[in-house]
Symmetry: C2
């Protein structure tokens, strides 16, 4: 672990790194099943829904789709997938606005327990922001809902480039008037961190073993190992605050 | 005063509306005079410096200058003006980094006393953001310095259009996924509010009689009158929080 100088600003991947998208959507979905009398398979739906994420962004990256923000990509995917997971619920049991309400579940994700307080500690001495493929409205609403005290919101939507496009990572140092090496990406995904490294940012890995659920973890499919190529590796945001001296 | 529905998000003009740019720069400059033995006329300099603001942005608006952010416009103006206000200080008494330090005085402006607590109250029930011609780094640093708890930073720099260009105002509702009428601009300048009205935003006037100093106020050159064409008129941010029921 090479620490050199402290970063001036920290930007955070959000889905998986700050918030538990899978658990949050399953919980909200099951509560909807109870109140609406639905039988939707939320566990199956959320995994398929998240599974459509990379292929759909890839279509935007390659130009097969014009710029489309994440709310719109989520809605496209939801419309294509829902019928497979209705699990006996008649399609007509879902009223006009239900799809929109389900789509904004991504705005109402809960933070991992260490996140709000860890961010508050780090914010006292550093600029903190998102660095996410989520659109600005989604990230702003989620920050209110989950108690994430960002100084500002960096989003793929501002620059029309999804991570791991270099343009997305570089928007943070450029707009903050900082060198790339003065900005650190914090993420639970090594591919995201490698994209940021290539753009010259500092990197910090924080494993989130429960991101994809117990079954994936038990099957040994989550790689939680710390890596020397990242500038920092931290157990959670409290540990990161400690390492930064915050 | 027509109130209709409450705005969902509030965006704030910053220079003059949230922070006392004139008083802050004069105070910091005079402190520099004392520690460095300078005799710079900060009162004259700050008024001339702010005076260069509209003409320089106008050059960007008309395309006479390519996109140039406010830090860079401030530096251009400072270099042109400083010699007129040295007031006996030898130019060589200013070392290499002094110009950069003076230019970032605009990042270290103090809030009017009602602002931090007023924003905190409003933030509890609404999204709050900047809507400023200041660049993102300037606004982010100022928020830390002055205790302005923004949810997010809207800046002319994101869209390469200075207010009162319509594109600048419309970036807030567009990026928040809201209708224009669900977003309200709060400003101390009627021309700014009129620009926002034309773009369909709600408007709130908050007079800041001391923005240009006592002499301008005494000469009757500051127009503090409430106007029926704005959706809200408020004495200060505490009054606005009250009117919003926050």
């Amino acid at each position: 672990m090479t620490k050199q100088s402290l970063p001036r600003a920290l930007v955070f991947d959000v889905f998986g790194t700050c918030v538990d998208w899978r658990g949050s959507i399953i919980r909200e979905g099951r509560a909807l099943n109870r109140t609406r009398g639905w039988t939707i398979d939320w566990e199956g739906l959320v995994d398929a829904w998240r599974g459509a994420y990379q292929p759909n962004m890839h279509k935007v990256r390659t130009g097969a789709l014009p710029w489309t923000n994440l709310d719109a990509l989520h809605m496209m995917a939801l419309k294509g997938l829902l019928s497979k997971f209705l699990n006996g619920t008649p399609r007509k049991a879902l009223a006009g606005d239900d799809l929109g309400h389900i789509n904004t579940m991504w705005h109402r994700l809960k933070a991992w327990p260490d996140v709000p307080n860890g961010l508050k500690r780090i914010k006292a001495r550093h600029v903190i922001g998102t660095m996410s493929n989520g659109n600005v409205a989604l990230l702003t609403n989620m920050a209110k809902f989950a108690g994430l005290p960002w100084d500002l919101v960096f989003s793929a939507e501002w620059v029309h480039h999804y991570k791991p496009d270099r343009e997305c990572y570089l928007s943070a140092p450029r707009m903050l008037g900082l060198k790339s090496a003065d900005v650190m990406l914090v993420a639970a995904h090594k591919s995201d961190l490698d994209g940021a490294r290539k753009a010259g940012l500092k990197t910090c890995f924080v494993p989130r073993p429960m991101e994809y659920g117990k079954a994936v973890l038990a099957a040994g499919k989550y790689d939680a190992a710390f890596e020397r190529r990242f500038d920092y590796n931290a157990k959670d945001f409290g540990d990161l605050a400690e390492q930064l001296g915050s």
